[in-house]
């Protein structure tokens, strides 16, 4: 998955960003439509609730639009947007913890992959649901940055280079963070077993 995408319109991000800077709102609409899914899933992985992910990803686009003067057409638009998304999501999660409010439900934001669902019987279904709930709880118990790196790698399927570019860290640090995150996840899963 590339950071800069082109859709059927044939217009590059760079061109659209230049038009947005010149005050072209429909050009911003095209950028929104191009990246709304990625923005939503990025937020979903970080906050773990559909409503909040929708709200925060839309807010990130709105803030990006308000700050369009600072957009650099030479740099990937999504990487810039992602910085807004992660800041909003981290703040949101921090405030939620402070308010001691639980998230909407323990298993609502993850599903079992289609390949793992192929052999259906009631016993298997129950086991799968339990496994999913265990993983969800373990992921939610991780520090924000560990959860973020796992979401980018495992659920968004980004390569190390893309993660490094998005978060703004060296590839070596991406690997070290992934290692720590997986160790913590393993520990969290073992505690719950």
């Amino acid at each position: 998955m590339e950071l800069a995408l082109q859709d059927g319109t044939g217009e590059s991000d760079e061109l659209l960003v230049r038009r947005v800077r010149a005050g072209d709102t429909p050009a911003f609409g095209k950028l929104v439509e191009r990246y709304m899914r990625r923005a939503y899933y990025a937020a979903l992985g970080l906050v773990g609730s559909h409503e909040d992910a929708l709200d925060l990803s839309q807010e990130a686009f709105a803030r990006a639009f308000r700050a369009r003067e600072r957009l650099d057409p030479e740099r990937p638009f999504y990487a810039w947007l992602y910085q807004i998304i992660r800041r909003l999501c981290f703040n949101f999660v921090r405030d939620r913890r402070t308010r001691r409010r639980g998230i909407e439900s323990a298993s609502s934001w993850l599903v079992q992959q289609a390949t793992a669902r192929s052999t259906d019987n009631p016993q298997k279904t129950l086991e799968r649901r339990e496994a999913r709930e265990r993983v969800t709880e373990a992921l939610e118990s991780l520090p924000d940055r560990d959860r973020e790196i796992l979401v980018l790698k495992e659920f968004e399927g980004l390569r190390y280079r893309e993660i490094a570019e998005l978060i703004g860290i060296p590839i070596g640090t991406v690997m070290s963070r992934l290692y720590s995150a997986r160790r913590r996840l393993a520990a969290a899963l073992e505690v719950k077993e």
Binding site: T25, G29, V32, E33, M36, R37, Y40, Y41, L44, G45, H50, L54, Q58, E59, F61, A62, F65, R66, R94, R97, T98, S108, W109, L110, V111, Q112, Q113, A116, A131, R132, V135, L150, V151, K153, E154, F155, R159, Y160, G172, M175, S176, L178, Y179, R182, R183, L185, A186, L189
Partner: protein, 154 residues
């Protein structure tokens, strides 16, 4: 653990990640295999990492209802419009309230039949209110962002 061991362990961990995520070169793979053969600790970690990878690979983010995408841009557009609206409304209100307060205080002080003490008290109330408003705004905008204990769960 010697510094050399520490460097090797760090290298092994990075190679393990690269192997799990399909980003390892053939030479690096050989290097990792050599480490796995000779070091039982690394082998144990490798098995644990494989188990974790297996668990996370079986999961995916839940897809939202399809109609969400149809309304997405409209919602963003409404937000941007409302943002500008709120900004103008807030700025206008602050200017109007400030101007009104100034005029009111001016009128109070020009009233000759009001004794000096209530005039000073009114000035005190107005000044105190301004200090409180500025203090709350500063806390919201500045102090909260720089609170060193904000990550601490109370």
């Amino acid at each position: 653990m010697s510094p050399r061991d520490s460097v090797d362990t760090e290298r092994a961990r990075r190679l393990m990640m690269a192997a799990l995520d399909g980003e390892i070169s053939p030479e690096e793979r050989r290097e990792l295999d050599g480490m796995l053969e000779t070091n039982s600790e690394i082998r144990e970690e490798w098995e644990q990492m494989n188990r974790v990878k297996e668990v996370t690979s079986a999961m995916a983010l839940r897809e939202p209802p399809e109609e969400v995408w149809g309304e997405y841009w409209t919602s963003v557009y409404n937000r941007t419009e409302r943002g500008i609206g709120w900004l103008l409304l807030s700025l206008g209100s602050i200017v109007l309230l400030g101007y009104g307060a100034w005029k009111w205080i001016e009128a109070v002080f020009q009233t000759e039949d009001l004794p000096l003490l209530p005039k000073v008290a009114i000035l005190g109330v107005a000044f105190g209110l301004s200090v409180l408003v500025v203090s709350v705004i500063r806390e919201k905008l500045f102090t909260k962002k720089h609170d060193p204990y904000r990550e601490v769960q109370r």
